[in-house]
C-alpha cells in the first residue's frame, strides 16, 4: 500500500521515470520515510501503553523479595527495553531501584538496556533492516544488559557511587511503598498516549528524513560492493573503529540507521553495522553527564568500558555467525 502510494506520487505526480536512478532514489525516499514514520508512531504507541500500565513498584518489590538465581538480571534488562527513550527518566528509576535495595548489578542491567533497546531504534531497524535483524538487535541488547549486569555486579562497585546515593542505598527500604492508584480508563488515556507518540515522531522526523535522503542517495549512486574492499568482509578492527566513531552520534540515532542500512547494502558487514548502532544509542555523552549525578567518574568509566567491550565482542560474534 505504501509502495503503491510512493509509486503514484513519484512516477505519477512528479512524473519521474521509474527506470532512472533519480526516480528510484526519490521513490525509495518516500517509501522508506512513510513506512518508518508509521512504524515509529505505532511502536511508540505500543510502548506508551505498556509503560502507562507497567507496575514499576511491584517489579521493584518482586526483584527485592525473591531469590531469582540470575533471572533478576534478565527481568531488569527486559524492563530496560520497554522504558522510553528519554535518558532523564533512567536516572530516577536507577535511584528508585537502589533505594528499593536491589543489587547494583541488577540495576546496571536496566541501565545498559534502557537506551540500547528503545522505540526509536526498534522502529528504525524494523523499517530499514526487517524483522530478522531487528530481533537479533533486540535480543542481543537484552542479553548484553543481563550479562553486563552480572559481571558489573561481581566487582562490588557500590563504593564508587556518589556519597548521597550510597546513603540512600544503606537506608534502603524493603517494604512496599504506597503508590498512587491510577484508575483512569484505557480509552481516556489513549489520546494522551497517542499524543506522546506523535511527540516522539515529531522530535526525530527531521533526522529520519535527512538520514533516509542520504541513504536513498547512496542506494541510487554508490556502486554495489563499494565498501567491501575496506570494511566489508568484517576485518576485526572494523568493529572497534565503528564503535569509536559511533560515540559522538547520540542525538542523531534516528537518522543514522537508514545510512547504516545503505552502507550494509554496499558491502559493510552486518555485525560491524549492528555494533555501530549499539554504540550510537548505548554509549552517549549526554547519558554520561546525567550519570555523573549518581556515580563517580571512575564508575562511569568502568560502566561504559564494560559496555564498550561487550558491544565490540558482540560485533565480532555477529560477523562470524551472520
Amino acid at each position: 500500500m505504501i509502495q503503491s502510494f510512493a509509486d503514484w506520487l513519484v512516477y505519477g505526480i512528479f512524473g519521474l521515470d521509474s527506470a532512472t536512478k533519480l526516480g528510484q532514489a526519490v521513490n525509495f525516499f518516500f517509501y522508506d520515510s512513510l513506512k518508518i514514520l508509521i512504524l515509529l508512531f505505532l511502536i511508540s504507541a505500543v510502548m506508551g501503553i505498556i509503560n502507562a500500565y507497567f507496575p514499576i513498584d511491584r517489579l521493584r518489590n518482586f526483584l527485592h523479595g525473591h531469590k531469582l538465581y540470575g533471572l533478576d538480571y534478565l527481568l531488569a534488562s527486559l524492563f530496560g527495553s520497554i522504558t522510553p527513550f528519554c535518558s532523564c527518566s533512567s536516572i530516577p528509576l536507577f535511584i528508585g531501584f537502589v533505594k528499593g535495595g536491589i543489587p547494583l548489578g541488577v540495576t546496571f542491567s536496566f541501565l545498559i538496556t534502557s537506551p540500547l533497546v528503545n522505540e526509536v531504534a526498534v522502529a528504525m531497524f524494523l523499517g530499514t533492516f526487517g524483522v530478522k535483524v531487528t530481533l537479533i538487535y533486540v535480543l542481543s541488547g537484552i542479553l548484553l544488559g543481563s550479562i553486563g549486569g552480572i559481571i558489573l555486579g561481581r566487582f562490588h562497585l557500590e563504593r564508587f557511587l556518589s556519597p548521597w546515593v550510597i546513603q540512600i542505598q544503606q537506608q534502603s527500604i524493603a517494604e512496599a511503598q504506597a503508590w498512587i492508584e491510577d484508575n483512569t480508563s484505557f480509552w481516556k488515556r489513549l489520546p494522551d498516549i497517542l499524543k506522546d507518540s506523535w511527540g516522539i515522531v515529531r522530535g526525530v522526523v527531521i533526522y529520519v528524513l535527512i538520514g533516509i535522503a542520504i541513504g536513498a542517495g547512496i542506494h541510487g549512486y554508490v556502486p554495489e560492493g563499494f565498501f567491501s574492499a575496506a570494511l566489508g568482509s568484517g576485518q576485526w578492527w572494523t568493529v572497534p573503529l565503528a564503535v569509536v566513531l559511533a560515540v559522538p552520534m547520540y542525538s542523531n540515532a534516528a537518522g543514522i540507521i537508514p545510512l547504516v542500512e545503505a552502507f550494509v547494502q554496499k558491502g559493510v558487514a552486518l555485525g560491524t553495522a549492528i555494533s555501530f548502532m549499539m554504540a550510537v544509542v548505548g554509549l552517549s555523552l549526554p547519558e554520561a553527564t546525567m550519570l555523573k549525578k549518581v556515580m563517580t567518574w571512575k564508575l562511569i568509566g568502568i560502566f561504559f568500558g564494560t559496555v564498550t567491550i561487550f558491544i565490540i565482542l558482540s560485533g565480532w560474534i555477529f560477523n562470524i555467525i551472520l
Binding site: 521493584r60 528519554c86 527518566s89 530516577p92 498512587i180 499524543k195 511527540g199 546525567m290 549525578k293
Partner: protein, 79 residues
C-alpha cells in the same frame, strides 16, 4: 497552596507539564506560582521513579505523565 513540577530538566515532557500546570492555575484564578524542581536528590526524596511528576502541598498527585490542563484543574479542585 504549594505546587511543584518534578523533572530532571532534559525532557520536553517536563516542560509541557510545567506549562500546563501554569495554565491550569491561571485559568482557576488562584495566585500561586508553579515551582520547577530539577534537582535529582530532591526529586528522589518524594519517592517517585518516573518523571515528570506533579506535587501539591507535599502530596504526589501524578507520576510519569503529561497531564492536560483540564486534568490538572480537576486534580487541584478535588484537593
Amino acid at each position: 497552596m504549594e505546587i511543584k513540577v518534578l523533572g530532571t530538566g532534559c525532557c520536553s515532557k517536563c516542560a509541557i507539564l510545567t506549562k500546563n500546570t501554569e495554565d491550569a492555575v491561571k485559568a482557576m484564578g488562584i495566585n500561586v506560582s508553579v515551582e520547577k524542581i530539577t534537582d535529582i536528590e530532591k526529586i528522589i526524596s518524594y519517592g517517585i521513579m518516573r518523571t515528570p511528576a506533579l506535587v501539591v502541598d507535599g502530596k504526589v498527585l501524578s507520576v510519569g505523565k503529561v497531564l492536560t490542563v483540564d486534568e490538572i484543574s480537576s486534580l487541584l479542585k478535588s484537593l
